[in-house]
Assembly symmetry: C2
Homo-oligomer: 298 residues x 2
């Protein structure tokens, strides 16, 4: 679905994803298997790809940024495992395979999520230890990790997940809907882009552009996802569809209808392209991602 | 139960615990309440106290270490919330109050735990941003946070929790039992002590002593806890007792009997005191904690 650059970044992430797992004891094999299972079950790796692309865009070295890209994907993966739990969204399928808790049990799924979230920070902090003789790089890394922590946490993704759950079955205002999307989905996307910008040592202009761009495509990404939930079929999605709708969750198509949602997605795409326009060819990777948004499959 | 120094450290932790919660939006009030609920429900604050004491012992400034002490208590608190979940230990009571999931629901309890774990790293990383002009202090902080991440994660506490769950109803060897305790309980205690030593800029001698000391009291702490589960009453414990025994979990008294467990606890106390002996009065705080171990209440 994406271009060569995308695939190159994705390939790098895919090939290093498991290698960054902390070495764990034989006694924890089940934990290891459970974490590995969800890390290996595919996905577009959008967040780490964006981090690596932002780092490139700002002139950074790709290998220096890699641990942070991996960390972001660990965080995204943990969030999917916990979201799928019976007490949360209660989804049996994820990316075309049984959800983590269906394979390893609920207890192990909770712990695999906890393990991945912890591992994400372990990876970043361990990496920082290697840069004690390069203070400027060390600072960039601290900034990047701080940004990722914010996006993942209770002012970001976790807050969005709470709002999403609380919206179920409720009449929900447009502002609340935007709050959910900005946090549940956009926050970690924005953090990935900002982290990449920090790692690459980008200018304020680039950092600001990537931040706005991230918010816009984050919202678009969620609307596209909700649209697929309405008209997608289970095969394309790799998970059961129509569930959010059935649960009367607070979604854009749910409130405004499919047509309005498609129009909003279109508008967001245009806006994202506009934000990156000043950078001309340099920003092309990001405009391409934005234009692909409305055509995406899961 | 502990001395004046202990209470001074504990007081400092208690009075700053909520103040370190990231400011979150009104829309996330339930999340905030759920996190606050478990942070405020008492507890001895052993881990942050040990961190602060280790930092003092190594000559550090207490205010510089505080965010890391708070972070460790956030991590401990998240682990209790997740441990109590129906799919895990299924405990309705914690510290004399209904468990988090009994008050806020299972979904919110999962998210409150996720939020606290993320917040712990957010607190440490935000603190690092303040030390960009003091590279030596920044490095100490990175080392401390790295240590805490390791102790909390899938090579530490999470691994221990997995082993603990897997031990249920199984015949379990002494080595496996020790593996559970070393990870489930001792790991975060050791990390707290090591983090304090790093923050305080301690010598290798002090760091090594605190590490060994932490392993020993960590094991002791768990045996004392398991003993209370056997003969404690629910009122003293603030939670239901006899449950681990009923579930035939892998515990020291469960395998070797109560008397052997008491003897082992005694031996560990002696060992902990021996480890700190070379430091004479300087190490008194730690020897006192060790001798209190066998007399502890929850």
């Amino acid at each position: 679905m994406f271009n060569e650059d995308y695939l190159r970044y994705k390939e790098l992430v895919d090939s290093h994803l498991l290698g960054f797992l902390p070495e764990i004891d034989q006694q924890s094999e089940t934990l290891y298997e459970a974490m590995k299972y969800s890390l290996s079950s595919g996905g577009k790796r959008l967040r780490p790809v964006l981090l690596l692309a932002a780092n490139d865009f700002c002139g950074g070295d790709i290998n220096t940024a890699l641990p942070y890209a991996i960390a972001v994907e660990y965080i995204h993966t943990y969030s999917l495992i916990h979201d799928d739990l019976p007490c949360m969204d209660d989804d049996d399928m994820r990316r075309g395979k049984p959800a983590n808790h269906k394979v390893f049990g609920e207890d192990m799924a909770v712990l695999a999520g906890d393990g991945l979230l912890s591992a994400a920070f372990e990876i970043m902090l361990r990496d920082m230890l290697l840069y004690f003789d390069a203070p400027d790089k060390l600072k960039r890394k601290v900034r990047a990790a701080n940004e990722i922590a914010k996006g993942a946490g209770c002012r970001g993704m976790v807050a969005g997940q709470v709002a999403d759950i609380e919206s179920q079955g409720r009449q929900c205002a447009k502002e609340y809907l935007e709050y959910i999307h900005l946090n549940k989905t956009a926050a970690l996307i924005v953090s990935s882009l900002k982290a990449g910008a920090y790692l690459g040592g980008g200018t304020k202009e680039k950092l600001d552009a990537l931040t706005s761009y991230g918010e816009v495509i984050g919202l678009g990404f969620q609307i596209a996802d909700d649209l697929l939930d309405v008209y997608g079929d289970a095969e394309t999605m790799g998970k059961n569809t129509g569930k959010d709708y059935a649960r009367s969750k607070c979604t854009f198509p749910g409130i405004f209808g499919v047509e309005a949602a498609e129009q909003r997605l279109e508008d967001l795409t245009v806006k994202a392209v506009e934000i990156m326009e000043p950078f001309q060819e340099e920003g092309e990777f990001f405009t391409q991602i934005a234009t692909q948004l409305s055509k995406r499959d899961k």
